[in-house]
């Protein structure tokens, strides 16, 4: 049982100072920009909530948000079940376990722009392995820089390549924590594979899967570097996800007010969805 101890605050203080320095100061800067109008020369004028109204009404924001939601939903629907299936099929002990883990963790440790550059090289229609094979062996007309559909499929396959391993590692950790006795009991009862999965493995994985879904939601909703390196948001702006659009407005056009307002709306959406999901998933535990 935890004990009441206010002095514990001293233990938390270093973390509080370090994170607050990085989180609160920039956040206040963003809030500050979001309610002001600037015409350059470092002159700022009060603009109230005007930027927020503009952003919430702007079709450009709606389109980027729509693309972002579609992207996040698609990769979650693919990566979570796929990760579970792979984790279930992995060996539980022996020589091959560390081999599988090391190889599977590899994509997680590649810098994000290298992931984008690697997939760019891989999918070049004339000299990339995948692009060349699709065009010349399978006879599919594939060119990411011209077809929005091809660009979308490539961005999604790249994300599946990059992040499914995280789901596999987490799900696998949940699986190996199940005592052997559970399986023996199930065998004696004559349980089918499906009921072993449904009533033993899935409940045991619930906690790690909650974490996997939360992490994948947060990270995919904030994704920037990989799709930007791969497609630059194109062709046109068909793969311009929310943060790519944000960086375009903030650093490309230097429209600080609208960019700041958009940042705050963006952050609020991420927070709300994460909180809702977290509450729903952990409700049964209380």
């Amino acid at each position: 049982m935890k004990t009441e101890n206010q002095r514990a605050w001293f233990f938390v203080l270093p973390v509080l100072i370090l994170v607050a320095f990085n989180a609160l100061v920039p956040l206040m800067t963003v809030v500050n920009y979001s309610v002001q109008e600037t015409f350059g020369n470092n002159q700022f004028f009060w603009h109230g909530l005007g930027w927020f109204e503009d952003i919430l009404r702007s079709e450009r924001f709606h389109a980027a948000l729509g693309r972002q939601l579609f992207f996040t939903a698609t990769i979650l629907i693919i990566e979570i079940p796929l990760g579970v299936v792979i984790a279930l099929a992995m060996p539980r002990k022996g020589f091959w376990v560390p081999v599988c883990l090391v190889l599977m963790a590899l994509p997680l440790l590649i810098p994000w722009n290298v992931v984008g550059a690697m997939w760019n090289i891989f999918t070049l229609p004339d000299i990339g392995l995948l692009g060349w094979t699709l065009n010349n062996v399978l006879g599919i007309d594939y060119n990411m820089t011209q077809s929005p559909v091809a660009a979308w499929i490539t961005v999604i396959v790249m994300d599946v390549w990059h992040w499914t391993s995280l789901v596999v590692l987490l799900a696998y950790a949940g699986l190996i924590s199940i005592p052997e006795a559970y399986y023996q009991a199930a065998k004696i009862d004559g349980a089918s594979n499906w009921s072993v999965f449904r009533y033993i493995q899935l409940p045991k994985m619930k906690r790690v899967l909650t974490i996997a879904i939360l992490l994948r939601f947060m990270d995919s909703f904030n994704i920037y570097t990989e799709p930007f390196t791969l497609t630059g948001g194109g062709p046109g702006n068909s793969t311009t996800l929310l943060s790519i659009d944000l960086v375009k407005i903030a650093l490309g056009q230097f429209d600080l007010g609208p960019a700041a307002a958009m940042s705050l709306i963006y952050f609020a959406i991420t927070l709300a969805v994460s909180w809702l999901f977290y509450t729903l998933m952990t409700r049964d535990e209380q």
């Binding site: 206010q6 938390v12 800067t29 963003v30 994000w112 390549w161 696998y172």
Partner: protein
């Protein structure tokens, strides 16, 4: 071989294909790359790697990245260990709110913070230093480390602490010589994640540096844009960024699975 072991094999092949292509490209000459498609390098060349190892702007990129990732891992772990202990052992005013607030910092899009970070670190005179990137990456690494370590520490029965005090251990001595060794799998997993997220992040690292602390990943974007399209060089630099990660995974391979299972992660 059972049919179900085909699933991980196919998955791993899928993971390795783009990596193979990057490695193959890095050993090709520019002429061969531009000349057309070839599955294997026809004439192996080390020219791309030689170019990187002889050019200080390239190899300093690696050194810079390794320096700030190491500083970040050390700072994050040093701050997160006592904090995680406090969260796992004590109740105090506002503890739950604080914990959730810490986690929310993982949700903030890095793109949102890029510009204010630049202004903040310029204002305190840390712009273009390794420390700036290490501190900035603490924004998402410290909360993650606290989260992971708290899970591991809560798995250790409180009797361990009490026995140590009865035996006359002071708190610092107990923490350093008994408690940390008990949760060393957790420390390994948390340090691994700090290393990983700091190593792979580019946007903040690029925003906070110019010359002195420029990370390798940022050097690569320069090559892709300004020096024409030197695919071979780009591929070789990419291959070299995979190696430190691969070494780290090899060392923590046993902790990853075991660590996840023990902790509440």
């Amino acid at each position: 071989m059972r049919p179900r072991s085909l699933v991980p094999i196919i998955y791993i092949l899928f993971l390795l294909l783009p990596i193979y292509w990057l490695v193959a490209m890095s050993f090709k000459t520019t002429n061969e790359i531009l000349g057309g498609f070839s599955l294997f390098p026809q004439e192996w060349t080390l020219a791309n790697y030689r170019a990187i190892f002889t050019d200080p702007t390239w190899y300093w990129g690696y050194i810079n990245s390794i320096i700030y990732v190491t500083i970040n891992t050390l700072i994050s772990m040093a701050a997160a260990l006592p904090a995680a202990y406090a969260f796992s052992r004590h109740r105090f005013l506002g503890d739950k709110h604080l914990f959730f607030w810490l986690l929310t910092n993982r949700m903030a899009p890095a793109a949102v913070f890029a510009l204010p970070f630049f202004q903040l670190y310029s204002a305190v005179g840390l712009f273009d230093t390794h420390l700036a990137v290490a501190l900035a990456h603490g924004l998402f690494n410290i909360p993650l480390a606290v989260w992971i370590l708290e899970g591991f520490m809560s798995g250790v029965p409180k009797e361990l602490d009490e026995t140590a005090y009865v035996d006359g251990y002071s708190f610092p001595r107990f923490f350093a010589t008994i408690f940390i060794p008990t949760i060393k799998a957790g420390v390994g997993v948390a340090a691994f994640f700090c290393f990983m997220f700091s190593w792979v992040e580019l946007l903040l690292a690029k925003t906070l540096t110019a010359v002195e602390a420029k990370p390798i990943a940022a050097t690569m974007t320069r090559t892709a844009s300004s020096a024409g399209y030197e695919l071979g060089l780009l591929a070789a630099a990419g291959v070299l960024t995979i190696i430190p990660g691969a070494i780290v995974i090899y060392f923590v391979r046993n902790y990853i699975a075991k660590g996840f299972a023990l902790g509440r992660v």
